[in-house]
Symmetry: C2
Subunit: 414 residues, 2 copies
């Protein structure tokens, strides 16, 4: 079965927001067996919305739209769909009651605009939105389905899980879609492709290989669309096992498991603890770990030692080291990691110190220079990387490198 | 002039990545005067790419595609465009030299796949990619332009700035597009709309108002598309000044200025300094500040005091407070902020302590309970918020609330 996603809103077309809804919906549709044919984004204009839905319906069985369901004048998705599918509007008592209750809890008065949120097209089935004031809608025409969801990501996600996916699964007979991703590191995309060319050429026709390069990492995804039987997953596992033999030193893991998820698992399983000392990454490393449920099992503390005084007073970095070698130096990175480990009693500590720019660089230490250190009972390791990019990228890459460095250090001890 | 954006790649359609390229390109096109008509994403399939580009060309003057330019077999954008625009392929010597130099610097051997990256359609003008191995391409047909850029965000951005935008500006006669955004806080979208209804109805026809709600914040955007003369910006300023009188207590700023950008500016202008003490937000607050160039002027340190021992040993929180009131309490939040200020000597300190979940909640302190404190020479303030959502949202909202709380505290002293 084929599906398409249409996100509605001028804010998407002018680039005021990044469209995360489409990726989420695509992922979930794939998981239940829909091939997503195409995605598009249109403005808050009726003729565009209608044309885009009609085109998608020609190609696909299900169309999911998000956005344009707010109570204000710029939101026109509901009235547009009502006209498209015919019939009048009716007041949905359950929605009205829910909106009243939600607003009362927030001390907001119920007004005409809120009342309009309970008005729904007679042609749709209401998808109850427990987490917001705009209901979702389910329309059918000639065996095809159009679903309209609010654009607020949190509300959309709950509606997808609680209302949309269960209905789609019972409404359509779906075949499986399987995606598996292997993560490789330390080998360039072109070298990797050359090394695995024979393996790639011998893949069964129904398996599609994709290369997904990012700094220092190339992910290899094998996809099978709308296949039958359990043998597909086994076949993919077998193919990856053959591949592992070809590039064993470069395989770092499977699926979208991020580097921090790997560290998380290693630490949780071993019962070891972690401390983080960050200068140029400024809290990003700690935030990557604390974003994961259960991080409190191992993360003892993080120190964002931005000023030299913080490096000295909190982490106990010897001021003479900073003076002699500079704050961005192997010596200071090592002292930061060791200091974080000392003050927290953690088993492992990781530290960064670098020049994120745009200013502060020199000929000897250009913007993008970052020193990393990892300390544990086995001693302290340090490394340096230079990223020739902009501030955001330098911080992102340094965060990724630091977590990979930490992971390798932990793994070497297992 | 109208433009469309097509992002190419199965990884977008299966939701393996979030498409940030489209938002960036849309923003930059708007800035130089292109109305972005529609955005779409298609898979790595020739017939889809061709159909999608042809449809876009019917509606628009310029089509920008990203993705599908890598050296591996799954990337087919270049050969597809070559067939679409006719003619053969040629080797671009400058690109080949550049690829050789880039790979040599990274100790990667130059192979057949890399050589293929220097092959370009004879029908295109090459857009030199100084930051990667895949060149951009510029095609023309009947006065319309198709531009193909690599999908790697960093390379795409540099090509947009250095090659694409300058050419578009000289190739087309463009009129201005103006977007201005006012940020309001503390008033629900429906109440806001009711309060400003008269003002909204009296807006000149060429100004479009959009409501952009997010937790605790509603942004109001006025847009004017393809207008002439300098009076438009003045008219928008004037409209916003009238609006300010209607909702003066709710206006918190303009443009996409985030709360952290406002704090950044307040601190840089006043020469005051900041320390951050985070428990449940886990480094996110510090990371928001350090993401901005120049944060080192005021950010002295951050402490991610996840474990109780870290709160005690690094921030000097009295262990008896934690025992008596619990780690998630007004008393501990206050002590964390005061401790961060004390150990760093910062003028301001902000602290969070809460239960991000999914476990750790109780009847008295459910998951989502977060205490905030801000300390300065004027004393310490605290507040509590409960977010009834999931871990990611709880951390995001707590980060936003903390920065807003800090901003209000700083502003009250100005």
């Amino acid at each position: 079965m084929k599906a398409e996603i249409i996100t509605i809103g001028d804010e998407i077309l002018i680039g005021q927001i990044v469209d995360t809804n489409a990726a989420y919906i695509a992922q979930r549709l794939n998981a239940v067996g829909f091939v997503v044919n195409e995605r598009s984004s249109v403005g808050d204009r009726a003729e565009q919305i209608v044309r885009s839905i009609e085109q998608s319906l020609e190609r696909s069985d299900v169309v999911i739209t998000t956005g344009g369901l707010g109570p204000t004048k710029d939101d026109i998705t509901k009235t547009t769909l009502a006209r498209m599918f015919g019939g009048g509007m009716r007041c949905d008592k359950r929605v009205e009651e829910h909106v009243r209750t939600m607003l009362a809890a927030r001390n907001i008065e119920f007004n005409e605009l809120n009342r309009s949120q309970a008005l729904v097209p007679e042609s749709c089935e209401v998808l109850f939105n427990a987490h917001g004031t705009a209901p979702g809608m389910w329309f059918e025409r000639e065996g095809k389905v159009v679903i309209s969801l609010p654009g607020v990501p949190f509300e959309m996600r709950h509606l997808m899980e609680d209302e949309v996916l269960p209905r789609l699964k019972s409404r359509f007979s779906l075949r499986q879609i399987v995606h598996r991703t292997m993560i490789t590191a330390g080998i360039a995309e072109s070298m990797l492709a050359a090394r695995i060319a024979e393996w790639e050429d011998a893949l069964p026709e129904y398996l599609h290989l994709a290369y997904l390069p990012s700094p220092n990492i190339v992910r290899l995804r094998l996809s099978a669309y709308e296949v039958d039987g359990e043998s597909v997953e086994r076949e993919i596992e077998e193919q990856f096992r053959m591949l592992e033999k070809l590039i064993s030193e470069n395989v770092v893991g499977y699926e979208n498991a991020t580097m921090q998820e790997q560290v998380h698992r290693l630490l949780v399983e071993s019962g070891k603890t972690l401390a983080v000392a960050e200068s140029c990454t400024g809290g990003s490393i700690a935030a990557k770990f604390t974003a994961m449920a259960g991080a409190s099992a191992y993360l003892l503390c993080g120190v964002v030692a931005y000023a030299n005084e913080a490096k000295r007073d909190i982490l106990g970095v010897d001021a003479s080291l900073i003076e002699k070698y500079g704050a961005v130096s192997e010596q200071v990175a090592r002292a930061m990691a060791e200091g974080a480990r000392r003050i927290s009693g953690a088993d492992f500590a990781v530290a960064t110190t670098g020049i994120a720019g745009p200013t502060g660089g020199s000929a000897e230490k250009p913007v993008g220079t970052v020193w990393f250190a990892v300390a544990s009972e086995r001693g302290t390791e340090a490394m340096m990387r230079i990223s020739d990019t902009d501030r955001g990228q330098i911080i992102d890459r340094a965060t990724a490198y630091a977590i990979e460095f930490l992971r390798n250090h932990i793994k070497a001890q297992n």
